[in-house]
Every structure is written in C-alpha cells, then in structure tokens.
C-alpha cells in the first residue's frame, strides 16, 4: 500500500499581521500546562495516520505539540510551514488513546484550530472553498436540496453529461469532491416526510430524542429512519423534532468557533425542552461533539449548566442499544453475511465506544464479524478533511479499502456517515464496490426480516 502523497498538502497564506507577530492571541491559546504533559516519548507516532503515511516528525502528534510549544514561546510564527502540519492533523485522537502520559492532544488541537482561523490568512482559493463548504454542509435544508438535485441527476443518468469542463471549473474543487462522494440516493426517499414520533413496540423502556443531523439527514436519511425503527423496536418512544440545527461538529473541528458554538446553542435550545431520557445520535462526529457541549460552553454563564445537562444525556445509538437489556418481543431474523466493522475515530477514540457496536452486531444470528486489520486507523474522512486534503484522504481511504477487501467481508459497517462515504468511494476506486452500511441498518434488517441479498446488492438504495 504505497501512499501517493509524500507529505501534507501545501498550504498557502501568511500570518495575519505580518511575519513578526506572535502566533497565538490570548483567546484560549493552547494551554502550556497541557503542552508540558508531553514527555516526548513518541508512543503516539505509530498511532497517527499521518505519521503512518508520511513518516515525518512534523506530522505526528509529538511534532505538532512541539510546534505548538515553539509557537507559544514565540520561536515560530503562524507561518504556512507550521500551519500545514496542524491542518494536516485529522483530529482522529488515536494518539490520545496511545499516550501513556495522558496528554490531552484533542484539547490542544481544538485550541489551535481557532487560532489558525483567526491568525492565519489563508490563500483566496482555500478561503473560497471553505466558505462554500460551510455555506452548505451545516445547513440541513440546503443539504436536502442538494441531495435532491443529486438524486434527480442520478435517476436521470445524466451525471456524466454534467461533467462539462467549463461548467466544472466554476464549482470549487471541494464541492466537486463532495459531489463525487455522494452516494446513490433515491429521490422518493428524500422527499418523503420523516416520522416525527415513533411509539415503542411493547412496554415503553424510555423516551428518547433522535438527532437527524445535516449531512446525515441529506445523504443518510434511510439510516435515520432505521435508527428510529430500531429504537422503537427496543421499547423506546422516539421523538424526532423537525428542522433540527446542525450540531456544530464540522465547524468546531475546523476551528470556526463562533458559528460552531451558535449552532450548539440552537440545538440545545431545540432539544432541552423535550422530556427525554437520552438524546440519541447515530453519527460519531456529531455524538462526540455533543458530549463535549458542557466543556465547550463552560465559559458561557447562560449556557454552561444547560449544555452540561444536555451533554450528559447524549448517547450513540449502538451504545444505547447495547446497554438495553430488553427482552425483544420478537426474534431477530438471520442475516448470514460476513461483515467488517470499521471503528469511526469519533466513536472509538473520542467516545470510547468500541465494544458496544460489536456486541450489537453480535446479537444478529448468522452474522459473522470478520477481523479487520487497522480497524481503528482513520479512514481519512475526518470531517471536511477529505474535501480539503483530498490526496492524503485518498491515501488513507485506499489503505482502509485494501484492508476491508483483504478481510473477505461482504459488507462494511461503520457508525459515521462521513466514514461510510469515504470508504465507499475508496472501495469503488479499488474496483470492489462493497455495500457500506451503518450497524443500525443491519439490526433493522434483522428485525424486519429483510433478506440479506437486499443488503448485499445494495438494492434497497436503488
């Protein structure tokens, strides 16, 4: 598996305020105490996907922390030679798990990114791409419109025709990539109203609210519906508020702090009034951000307590299902298939949720969970990473696809929409377009007695 990229993508831009200015301002710069926790032991290196790709110190957690230290001391400025390495960080947090000294790298990179956004003037192309992405992605309604358009073009089979060169050039590269990664969509599904309330099957075990997301709702509406059904089947009364705000994860992980925090407040506002035991989410990236709301809004006197109480109720769907010891009022139908499970970074590393999805899949009769090498190495999706750093993302995606193919799996399951898109695209490139599904879809199929062939040939999507 030879990587095509040999280093991080080049970043264009310059330090705002000129070369002599300090890298960081005083708004929550990377905490020197956290930086000092790093003893330079290097245990993080083999866990870091960018170190796996490029083998250079600057693109390892240890190197990135060192750059933060140099920047904090004024020994380097917010130069592009420094920013490119922070930008290249996927935010996968595999290093946090690997670190024996307990360095909170996740907090550090979260503190660095807004600094970069404020203190580094990106090149105009980069700015335009990012602006376009963030004008689209965190907006569920806009996303649904785009998804419908994509679905129509897919149905009409005119996608190839639309790749007219002149036209293409008008669209920023990042959006073109987004288009490339779009899954097969059914217009009919997109235009149907999603149920806003589901009654539990059998006695009510608890009441939950389901987060529908932004990209998730556009490209994975079917996963949201399967989630609702599965929760209901397990005795949950499910509330699905309409017109939900995006949770802010994408912007948070890209350093766009203010808009991210605003979205968080919106979502909390929409959900907190609901009398529910848990707020359930089926996308790892969102779930991990939401569990952090308390910490992220800790300095906001009006929101701190509300955010904390909200965050405490957040659960990933597989977490919840695994913990529910419910005597299902029906039997699970067999789904004889070999499934490889990919650990989404924001589920495994950020939330520590590894065993639960596997145990949930283990309940499905006939389903064989095959061994997937490097199952918890990032697939390269990483929020908008695969849109702004396509070569690096593709290298990681190809590495993941090769492992999936080698595992002999017939299906790939992962608990994050971004991962599903990324891995699906990589498998397609490798000539092995295996179906990719959310674990909850498998459980849903098993509950409903859907034939496994429907999943294997992806026909439920066409």
């Amino acid at each position: 598996m030879v990587a095509v990229s040999s280093g991080p993508p080049r970043v264009l831009g310059h330090p705002r305020g000129g070369a002599a200015t300090l890298a960081f301002d005083d708004q929550q710069p990377p905490d020197p105490a956290l930086i000092a926790d790093c003893v330079h032991c290097g245990f993080c290196l083999p866990a870091c996907p960018t170190y796996l790709l490029w083998g250079e110190e600057m693109d390892s957690p240890r190197g990135r922390i060192l750059l933060m230290d140099l920047a904090a001391r004024g020994q380097v400025g917010m130069e592009r030679e420094v920013v490119q390495h922070w930008d290249a960080c996927l935010g996968c947090m595999a290093c946090v798990d690997a670190c024996p000294s307990g360095v909170q790298y996740n907090r550090l990179i979260e503190q660095v990114r807004p600094q970069v956004e404020r203190r580094f003037a990106r090149g105009w192309r980069d700015r335009a791409s990012r602006a376009a992405l963030f004008a689209l992605l965190p907006h569920p309604r806009r996303m649904r419109t785009v998804a419908s358009a994509v679905a129509v073009t897919q149905a009409l089979g005119v996608r190839k025709a639309l790749r007219v060169r002149g036209l293409q050039r008008l669209v920023p590269k990042t959006l073109r990539r987004l288009d490339d990664m779009a899954p097969s969509l059914r217009f009919a599904e997109l235009s149907t109203q999603a149920p806003r309330h589901l009654t539990p099957v059998g006695p009510r075990a608890m009441r939950v609210a389901l987060v529908t997301g932004c990209v998730q709702d556009a490209f994975f509406a079917h996963v949201n519906r399967a989630t609702g059904r599965v929760l209901a089947a397990h005795g949950c009364e499910v509330l699905v508020p309409p017109a939900q705000s995006c949770c802010g994860a994408l912007e948070l992980h890209s350093g766009r702090e203010r808009p991210a925090l605003q979205r968080m407040r919106n979502l909390i506002g929409q959900m907190e009034a609901l009398d529910v035991d848990h707020v359930v989410v089926n996308t790892a990236g969102c779930g991990s951000a939401m569990k952090e709301y308390g910490a992220l809004l800790a300095d906001d006197p009006f929101w701190a307590a509300r955010a904390a109480s909200f965050a405490a109720r957040v659960r990933d769907v597989t977490e919840l299902i695994a913990d529910l010891e419910v005597q299902l009022p029906f039997r699970l139908h067999a789904l004889p298939a070999r499934v490889a499970y990919h650990d989404a970074c924001h589920l495994a590393h950020a939330q520590g949720v590894r065993i639960q999805p596997r145990s949930v899949l283990g309940r499905i009769p006939g389903l064989e969970l095959v061994d997937l090498r490097e199952s918890d190495v990032c697939c390269g999706s990483a929020g908008i990473y695969n849109l702004v750093a396509p070569q690096a993302a593709d290298d990681l995606g190809n590495r993941k696809a090769a492992h999936v193919i080698a595992s002999g799996a017939q299906l790939l399951a992962a608990g994050n929409g971004g991962c599903l898109l990324q891995i699906q695209a990589a498998l397609r490139r490798a000539g092995h377009p295996l179906p990719v599904v959310h674990p909850v879809e498998l459980l849903d199929a098993s509950i409903r007695g859907l034939p496994v062939t429907q999943l294997l040939d992806g026909s439920r999507h066409r």
């Binding site: 040999s6 330079h40 032991c41 083999p46 130069e79 024996p100 000294s101 307990g102």
Partner: protein, 483 residues
C-alpha cells in the same frame, strides 16, 4: 546553515519530498526521547532506499558535514541529538518487512520497521522477535541495532546482538557493505558484532537480517508482592541460585506501582515491592519452574502471589510495567530516568545507597528494574519549575551511576551512552580502553562525521573530565591552533 551545493546534492539523493530545511520543521528533530538538550539540525533527509542513504552520506562526507542517523527518536541517551549545522538522516520512511524465511528462522527488514511490527508479522506463524524494549511499539530495529537494545525478556533470550545475523551497512564515506548474512560464520572480523551497539557512530544500517525464535509453548506470569525491596531482591537471588532461568524478572517499588496504577489500573497490590516473574518453555518445564518460583517467593516473605490466568491478565500485568516511565508524568511534573547495571549480588546495598541519596537530596526516586540482570532504572522525580531542581536531579542521577560503577557494574544496560553519559566513560574505562575504542571508531569514520560526539568522551563535551583528544579537521589542516 548548509552550503547550497550540499542541499542540492541531498535533494538529488532523496528528492524534494525527502528533504526538510524549513527552520520550523527542523526543530521538530532537535531531540530524541532525552529532551534536556535540543539542537536543531540544518537539514533533515528522509531516504527510502539504501542507495539514497549512501548518496546522502557521500554528499555529507564530501562536504565534510557531520550527520546523525535517527530512527523513531525514542532513545533515552540523546544518541540521535543532532549536530548544529549538521544533517539528520531519518530512517522512518524505510519501514518495510522485506522477507520472512520461516524455514531458516530469519526475517529481513528495513531499519525503520518498529520492533513490535517484527513480532506481529511472525506471531501468527508461531514465532516472535525476542528483544522487547518497553518502547517496542514505536522504537525501530535500526535504533535497536545502534543501542544493542534489550528489554524485559533479554534475561533468557539475549539482546539485539544475539539476534542480528546480517546487515547492509552504509559506511561513513557512503559506501555500501554487507556484514554477516543469512548464512552464519562470515569470514574475517566480526564487524557486525562491533557495529551493533555502536550507537550510530560507525555507519548507518539500512537492512537487517534478524533471527526469530519459536513462541514458547507455555508462558506463566507471576506477580508477587513483598513488603520491602530487600525481600524481593532475596527472592530473585534464590530463584537464580536454584538454577532457574526465567524469561524475565522485573521489580517495581511502591512509588512506581502507584504511578502505573494511575494510568493502567492493572490492580497491582499496594506493597513495598512487586516482582513480575515470567517463565516460558515447554509446558511441563514452565509449570514446574513456576511452582518452584512460587515456593521461593513465599519463603522469601511474599505477602501475595498471583498467577495470570489468561492472556489478557498477562498483558495487563506487562502493560503496567511497560508504562512505568511514561506514567511518572502523572505523579511528578518532571523526571529523569537513569540506566545503570550492577551485579545482582549487590542489589541490596545499591538500593540502600539510592534511598540514602534520595533522602539527602530531598528528591523522590522511583525504582523500576530488570532484577534478573541487575539493570536498574531509578526514576529521579523533580519539579522543573523549582529553581535548581533540574540540576540537583541530574547530580543525584550521576551519583547513582557512580555507585553502580563502584559496585562493579556499568553506566548503561540498554539506553546507551549517547551524548548523555559520554563523560562517565572515563569512570568506567581506563584511558587505554577508551583509546582503543577511539581507534576502532577511526577505522570506520576517520573524518569524525558519523554521529560525532556520542558514546566516547570528547574534551569539549566533558569539560575537565579527561577524554581522548581528537584534533579538529581545521587543526589537522594546519589552519588553526587550539589555544
């Protein structure tokens, strides 16, 4: 600053994607696992093949610029500390396992392959690579060769030098030699034997043929708790005297156990000293030895003995031990890990002197060590923000080292001399011995460009401590005189 011409030659050797010159980026290579001293190199090159390494070295040699090889940069003696205005040659991109020859029990790897990767590659086939330093998931084979690394299991299985059969070696002039090989008993001098453990000062290894060993049929791991280090030490002596060769015997004191427990939660008992004894071999043999070891521990005053019942339990016991150094970060803002060896029979009195020194200096010392071969790792804990604390910690560590030497031991069991302990070499070796080592070095690197200033003492580094006098090239050329 490097000469433009040299930078161009290096770029020709490794490609523009293989050379790093930006001032910010080269600073990330300024130290290895020993963070006390940092020196930024002028450039870093990251070759991918033996030929690229050779070309890079040739370019440096012809420009008379020193170079330092680097693996994963996890060494604890500053062996990969760059030379100012010099080049770092990083082997991290040469990380392919080239061949696995099970029939002949050999594996050929590039130097950037991590130690653990080798074992992982052959474990499913029933073999493993025996030397297992605690940093094995990140440290590289190239680094292991440079330091002659050991690990907990070297008591029974030996060190890197016992497991290296051959190597492709780039000399300090940039020529490629093949030392040893897959077939044993190469004619002539055992150059491979002197290269292993030479701390990267004789040349750069770019391919290594390693010997792999059968995974033993049975492994028994015992955790025994004692009230004092003395009791635990007594048990170790009796185990050895009984003619048992365990695969590993490790000891940790109360402070070390506390720190490890904070991270790993392996459920170690709260005690004055804990022993981990691992026995492996054919089933019956391992079981018989285990019974004997348990009896010896009890007879030596063990307050508790626990045998790992599953693979997971065993892994957890070792996880705690292997996290020992890094876990010090939890109980102290700073720490300095020392590496000294003493004859096993002197364990009790050296431990006593360490605790006396610790009391005198008012600095805590946690003890973790390979009790089976007398290799101590006292961890001197201090708070760097206190003025003078760092220097006192270093002083204390130095005195500990001197007591190791006077007990008939060594200044380093596995971390190497590097830049850290070069000045202690004259306390362990006579001027004649050091002169001989210097001559061996001169045979390989007459230009003193290959990781200069490491392993052997130099007057500049060591101040008044006498070391060999090596005239600088400028002096030799008669252009300047040392005043």
């Amino acid at each position: 600053m490097l000469d433009r011409a040299l930078i161009d030659r290096l770029r020709d050797a490794v490609g523009s994607e293989g050379i790093i010159t930006s001032p910010a980026a080269v600073q990330t290579y300024a130290c290895d696992g020993l963070t006390g001293r940092r020196v930024s190199p002028a450039a870093v090159v990251l070759p991918r093949t033996t030929e690229q390494v050779a070309q890079a070295v040739r370019a440096c040699a012809e420009a008379n610029v020193p170079f330092v090889a680097r693996g994963a940069g996890t060494g604890l003696s500053g062996g990969a500390l760059p030379v100012a205005d010099g080049v770092v040659i990083g082997l991290s991109r040469m990380r392919t396992i080239l061949a696995i020859d099970l029939e002949n029990q050999q594996v050929t790897v590039q130097p950037g392959v991590t130690n653990l990767e080798v074992s992982k590659a052959v474990r499913p086939l029933g073999y493993f690579y025996a030397p297992d330093p605690s940093s094995q998931q990140v440290c590289t084979i190239g680094g292991n060769v440079a330091e002659n690394s050991g690990g907990a299991h070297c008591l029974k299985y030996g060190f890197t030098t016992h497991h290296v059969l051959g190597a492709t070696f780039v000399t300090a002039r940039g020529e490629v030699a093949h030392l040893g090989g897959a077939v044993r008993d190469t004619a002539g001098y055992d150059l491979l034997g002197v290269v292993v453990g030479s701390e990267g000062t004789l040349g750069i290894v770019t391919e290594v043929v390693l010997r792999i060993v059968r995974v033993p049929e049975s492994t028994e791991t015992l955790l025994a708790a004692f009230s004092t280090m003395g009791d635990a030490g007594e048990a170790v002596s009796r185990i050895i005297a009984a003619g048992i060769t365990p695969a590993a015997i490790e000891m940790m004191d109360r402070l070390a156990i506390q720190a490890c427990e904070e991270i790993v939660h392996a459920g170690y008992p709260d005690c004055g000293a804990a022993l981990i004894v691992e026995l492996d071999g054919p089933g019956v043999e391992a079981e018989a030895f285990l019974r004997e070891v348990i009896a010896i521990c009890s007879a030596s005053g063990a307050t508790e003995t626990r045998v790992a019942a599953t693979e997971a339990e065993r892994a957890l016991i070792w996880k705690a031990r292997k996290a020992a150094f890094a876990s010090m970060g939890r109980i102290s803002p700073n720490y300095y890990v020392q590496d000294g060896v003493i004859p096993r029979t002197r364990l009790r009195d050296v431990l006593e002197s360490i605790s006396a020194l610790s009391a005198t200096y008012g600095l805590r010392v946690a003890n973790v060590f390979h009790a089976g071969d007398g290799n101590l790792h006292p961890l001197v804990l201090y708070d760097g923000s206190e003025p003078g604390a760092g220097e006192r910690a270093l002083e204390l560590a130095g005195l500990i080292l001197e007591s190791c030497i006077s007990a008939g031991g060594s200044i380093t069991g596995e971390h190497g001399v590097g830049s850290d302990k070069a000045c202690y070499m004259p306390k362990m070796f006579s001027p004649g011995s050091i002169a001989v080592m210097g001559r061996v070095r001169d045979a390989f690197d007459p230009g003193d460009l290959c990781n200069p200033g490491k392993a052997l003492p130099t007057p500049r580094l060591c101040g008044e401590v006498p070391g060999m006098y090596r005239p600088h090239a400028i002096e030799v050329a008669g252009l300047a005189e040392r005043l």
